[in-house]
């Protein structure tokens, strides 16, 4: 057999064997049989040594060419086999990606509407330069009534359905504050004493601009009244603030809170012992549908009380009402939360019903800010 025939036969045999190799082991057997020390191609190469120089000149490149060619085929086949093996493994590893997840903790936890509303109020007023002031829930008669110009025996005291604590050793009954207004006096009072508790706001020098959110209590219960509820109070004291500015503050707040471009307010003269002049404020709204829309419509909705801080209150805080003046307002947090978010029943706020909390609550990272919008 001529060398050419020999190479051609070997090439055909080896190519077929490489093609037929089903896995890396079979391919390796082919490799050893061809290119191993005792392999057929190696044997052919070894035969070069016994050839005449003339023959070797042409045989050498031919045999080497075969070797390179077979090595290349083996390498290509190896790559194909590896890829097939990986694909087979990946196929075996396939899972059903439609299986449901456990809801993430942030998808389950909820912030109560009252906390969210307080955060919204805080975002608006802190931008307007108001800090947040607080005082105790268990108050003295002095701070809750007397210092706020509720004379002893005045019918206005009866309007409050006060909760009293059992009398102390001195026979004096403390009260559960019926409104957040006692904090007005605590903030204004000129004293060097450190506040008794960390949450209490220290007395301030005018100019004073604070908002006062907190729990309040009245002995009353029906669909719109609960014995515990939340109020937010605002107080501005300086040497020039007046009703025109009070109107501006309330309009700006209500626009920002209800996230509407305009609100129309109606101010009605009214009576609170701790303000003079006193006013109640109605906001224009539309009650024709299922929900109350603020900023449009033909109805009026009473939303807050306000007025110029009464000279007697400024006096009981140790300031001169001919020098200092200012205004205050108060409204129900639960009430404005209900108006904005549409909860029908106040009592459900305090029930801790998971279904209610999940429905009306807010996501943990829904942080009310002015730059990001109060609600999304």
């Amino acid at each position: 057999m001529s060398l050419e025939n020999q190479i051609a036969t070997l090439r055909a045999e080896l190519s077929a064997a490489i093609s037929a190799a089903g896995d890396e082991a079979a391919l390796d057997t082919v490799r050893v049989a061809a290119l191993g020390k005792k392999g057929s191609v190696s044997a052919l190469l070894a035969s070069l040594g016994s050839m005449a120089a003339e023959d070797r000149k042409s045989a050498g490149p031919a045999i080497n060419g075969l070797k390179v060619e077979i090595a290349g085929l083996i390498e290509a086949k190896s790559a194909t086999l590896k890829s097939a093996a990986l694909n087979a493994r990946l196929a075996a590893e396939t899972v059903d990606i439609t299986l449901p997840l456990q809801p993430a903790p942030t998808a389950r936890g909820r912030i109560h509407p009252i906390s969210q509303t307080i955060d919204e109020i805080t975002a608006i007023f802190s931008d307007m330069g108001f800090s947040i002031a607080e005082g105790p829930d268990i108050e003295t008669d002095y701070y809750n009534f007397t210092a706020l110009n509720f004379p002893e025996g005045h019918p206005a005291r009866e309007m409050h359905d006060t909760f009293f604590m059992k009398p102390g050793a001195d026979g004096v009954k403390k009260v559960l504050r019926t409104h957040t207004s006692p904090v007005q006096v605590r903030v204004m009072q000129q004293t060097n004493e450190k506040p008794a508790a960390s949450y209490m706001t220290p007395a301030m020098e005018p100019p004073i601009r604070v908002v006062i959110p907190g729990r309040t209590y009245r002995n009353d219960s029906d669909q719109t009244h609960t014995p515990m509820f939340h109020q937010v109070e605002g107080l501005v004291i300086d040497k020039s603030s007046h009703i025109g500015q009070l109107r501006w503050v309330l309009e700006e707040f209500l626009k920002a809170y209800f996230e509407v471009p305009n609100v129309t307010l109606r101010f009605r003269p009214s009576f609170f012992p701790f303000t003079e002049p006193s006013m109640e404020v109605d906001v224009q709204c539309d009650r024709s549908g299922n929900e109350v829309k603020i900023g449009e419509g033909n109805d009026w909705l009473e939303i807050l009380g306000c007025g110029m801080v009464h000279p007697n209150v400024i006096r009981s805080a140790g300031l001169d009402p001919d020098v200092y003046q200012g205004f205050a307002w108060g409204m129900g947090i639960d009430r404005i939360a209900m108006l904005k978010y549409g909860m029908p029943d106040l009592r459900a706020f305090f029930d801790g019903d998971q279904r209610w909390l999940d429905h009306y609550g807010f996501r943990p990272l829904d942080l009310p800010t002015l730059f990001g919008g109060l609600s999304s």
Partner: protein, 807 residues
């Protein structure tokens, strides 16, 4: 307070529309609560003619009528009224009409076999009088088929306004008219209150006021007048109608007159039947044990703080509040003793509260009643009694004195602008105040203003500003921005306010729902959770499970969990960030962040899931929640003490306390004690934690916000494992602290990676395996260096625990 349009027009000459009057009432501070049109409600009742009336075949007292109501056909109506007769003109209601006097809607019917398509009506059925003796009889020439209200001219409009506690002067229609006139809605009319000549001296002497020097004395000026020989009985229809329109029941002419003066002028009166007064009446305080059979048919016990008008047989009337039945005026009364008296408003209010009597007299007298009306009020009543009932007035008698505040305010005109921002011309200020009855003297920038007797609530400048403002209209005050104090607002929240905000978001991020629960809980629960002291109990709780201020947020959360479980939700995570009450002083009020998990409500989810089986919550869920809050607030739980000293509510072996030194407790965590769970009716496992946000240390104030320099080593950290066999009671914390302390420069972390107990480590023992991370700083560690640190670790741990290295 209710009043009718025609009543208002008695005092106000105006052609303003009902709508304008309503709006103005609200604008001047007499808030309109509603307007009712009497005519509109009765529009469906039409005049009709009974063409024939025949005896009902099956009922003696019924008649079958053919009625012409102007519809073009005759209507069959069965009627039981004795005066239903052929030819009578009367009032007819067709089927579908609401009958106010019967509170029913008339339908088509069949009465004992006879068709009846409507109803012939009495005045009582239209609520126009109490007369229900028969159907209304109209004149023979009355038209047929027109609304009855149009025919008789009933066009009554009733206003209902709410009066603020400072406005006693507006509890009478006259006072309302005065405000409307001052606003410019008409002219105030005057009423003749001039003295009426007497027919002789009064047989009843002025009432002696018998009060000791140190006794409360509610009475001020007491006026009385005997009118002899009156003819009492029903009052005229106009008066009855007026009283009914405002919700009062007409009684008899004398009593109706007292109500008319009370509602018209805010001046309550009382009329005694003089023949039932035994001996000379006096004013005194009630004696212990005395009672009053009051006109509301209730018996009230009296005490020494309450002023009564009494005769020889005891109390006749509770002063300023309500009269008694014994001397009340009836249809048979012939001699009337009319009382018009002033009382101390505070004492009237106190007696009112004590007795719980709500009366029109109390409502007015505890606000205030114009002291200048005591004498004219009596004349006014006398005049009307003579007009309606006849009789002979005797001399009026008076004792005591009225109290006139006679307040004079120096009023700088600049005050209006100072407080409202609104410029009002001095002329307008003067005009408004004058129309409201204030007397103005002085010229220039400061007016001298004398307050009228009916406005004791006006005592200072700000009160006068309000008077001007409510007449000008608050809506006319120009809106003006409040100048900013800072262009960029500085920090506005205190440390505790920030902590609350952060704690809430941190806990919600861990899958817990925020609850808001009552500040008051039951006494049993308060006591159980460490509270319940008397100073934290309510004197007038609204319910028996809301009696004590809460010492912990856990009772509220556990109660919420119980309610949710009863609704079928037993896997639940809840938290609250709110106040607890450790004492009744301000510093006893702390803010706690408290949370619970029940059932299988773990961080990663609740209930069964294909990824793994549902595991019960446990102490480490509570510890992890607590650590997460502390971390969110900048406190590393590894740097505070975690002590095996559980709270009372906790499983004794599965709970702990977090402390900072010997004095400061930051919080507790654990599994709810099974015995407590059973007593609180809670089923299934509960993990819980409490953090006292007030106990966390105030962050240190630093000069700059710069963080410490970061030293990143180029050398590889390495780790070594150790296992120790220690007594079961030895805590991991002790082992970790000892290991960390062995070489503070090299050791950067120590972690427990295995804990087990079993017979092969010995009875009462456990094995704790730790991994220690070493971070070389300046050179690679040699075997010798590592050996040295390892020995130090083993020595430190065995020394502090008494354990041995496991080999």
């Amino acid at each position: 307070m209710k009043f009718t349009l025609d009543w208002l027009q008695d005092h106000l000459d105006t052609d303003a529309s009902v709508d304008d009057i309503g709006k103005t009432l609200t604008l001047v501070g007499l808030e309109l609560e509603g307007v009712e049109s009497q005519g509109a409600a009765l529009k469906a009742f039409v005049t009709a003619h009974i063409v024939s009336a025949e005896q009902h075949p099956n009922a003696d007292k019924l008649r079958v009528c053919k009625v012409d109501a102007g519809t073009g056909e005759l209507i069959d109506v069965v009627c039981g009224a004795p005066n239903a007769r052929t030819g009578l003109k009367t009032v007819f209601a067709s089927p579908g009409t609401y009958i106010p006097g019967k509170d029913m809607t008339i339908g088509k019917g069949n009465i004992r076999g006879q068709v009846s398509n409507g109803m012939l009506c009495s005045a009582a059925e239209l609520e126009l009088s109490t007369d229900h003796d028969g159907i209304i009889e109209l004149p023979e020439d009355a038209p047929i088929g027109v609304p009855y209200v149009d025919f008789v001219g009933i066009n009554g409009v009733t206003f209902d306004i709410s009066i603020t506690p400072n406005r006693g002067d507006a509890t009478g229609v006259y006072g309302v008219a005065r405000d409307l006139a001052a606003y410019g809605l008409g002219t105030l009319k005057t009423t003749d209150m001039s003295p009426i000549p007497s027919k002789g001296p009064s047989p009843i002497a002025a009432l002696p006021q018998l009060f000791g020097a140190d006794e409360p004395n509610t009475a001020r000026k007491f006026g009385g007048r005997l009118i002899k020989g009156v003819k009492n009985g029903p009052s005229p229809e106009w008066l009855q109608q007026r009283l009914r329109a405002v919700g009062l029941r007409p009684i008899n002419a004398i009593v109706d007159i007292t109500n008319w003066v009370s509602l018209g002028w805010g001046r309550p009166l009382h009329a005694y039947d003089a023949d039932k007064i035994v001996g000379q009446p006096v004013l005194r305080n009630a004696r212990a044990g005395e009672t009053l059979d009051a006109l509301d048919n209730k018996i009230y016990p009296l005490d020494e703080t309450m002023t009564v008008i009494a005769d020889d047989q005891g109390p006749l009337c509770l002063g300023g509040i309500m009269g008694g039945i014994r001397s009340g005026s009836t249809d048979e009364t012939v001699n009337v003793f009319m009382e018009c008296a002033s009382w101390d408003p505070e004492l009237v209010a106190r007696t009112g509260r004590k007795t719980g009597i709500v009366s029109d007299a109390r409502y007015r007298l505890e606000r205030n009643v114009d002291p200048a009306l005591t004498v004219p009020g009596l004349e006014l009543a006398t005049r009307l009694v003579l007009e309606l009932c006849g009789g002979e007035p005797m001399e009026p008698v008076f004792s005591g004195e009225d109290v006139f505040p006679n307040t004079v305010v120096e009023f700088p005109l600049s005050e209006v602008k100072r407080l409202t921002g609104l410029s009002v011309e001095p002329m307008i200020v003067t005009a408004i105040l004058t129309r409201l009855g204030f007397e103005i003297s002085g010229k220039g920038d400061v007016l001298t203003v004398k307050v009228p007797s009916w406005r004791p609530d006006v005592t200072q400048k700000a009160d006068l500003v309000e008077e001007v403002m409510r007449m000008v209209g608050v809506d006319n005050v120009p809106v003006e921005p409040l100048p900013r104090l800072n262009h960029v607002a500085p920090r506005m929240l205190t440390t505790i306010q920030n902590r609350r905000r952060i704690a809430r978001r941190a806990l919600a991020s861990r899958g817990l729902d925020e609850a808001v629960t009552w500040s008051f809980i039951s006494h049993d629960e308060a006591t159980r959770f460490g509270g319940g002291q008397e100073s934290l109990q309510l004197a007038n709780a609204i319910a028996s499970d809301m009696t004590d201020m809460r010492p912990s947020l856990l009772p509220g959360l556990l109660a919420a969990a119980r309610r949710n479980a009863n609704r079928g939700t037993s896997d639940l995570g809840l938290f609250e960030v709110g106040q607890v009450f450790l004492s009744d002083t301000p510093d006893g009020q702390h803010t706690y962040a408290t949370g619970i998990r029940t059932g299988t409500a773990k961080l990663d989810g609740a209930g069964r899931h294909w990824t793994g089986k549902a595991e019960a919550v446990g102490v480490f869920d509570a510890k992890a929640d607590l650590a997460a809050v502390l971390d969110a607030l900048g406190v590393d739980i590894d740097k505070v003490q975690v002590l095996p000293e559980p709270a009372a509510w906790s499983h004794p072996g599965r709970g702990g306390r977090i402390a900072l030194g010997p004095k400061v407790t930051l919080g507790w965590f654990g599994e709810l004690h099974p015995a407590w769970a059973a007593e609180l009716d809670i089923h299934g496992p509960v993990s819980a934690f409490e953090i006292d946000l007030d106990a966390l240390p105030e962050p240190r104030k630093k000069a700059t916000k710069t963080k410490p320099a970061l030293d990143l080593s180029a050398l590889m950290p390495l780790s070594r494992d150790f296992a120790f066999v220690v007594d079961k009671a030895v805590t991991a914390a002790v082992i970790l602290r000892a290991a960390r302390g062995a070489d503070k420069a090299l050791i950067t972390d120590v972690n427990v990676f295995d804990v087990f107990e079993g017979s092969h480590v010995g009875e009462g023992k456990k094995s704790v395996a730790i991994e220690v991370t070493l971070q070389p700083t300046d050179k690679t560690l040699t075997d010798e260096d590592i050996e040295k640190v390892s020995s130090a670790i083993v020595a430190a741990v065995t020394k502090s625990t008494g354990g041995v290295l496991r080999t």
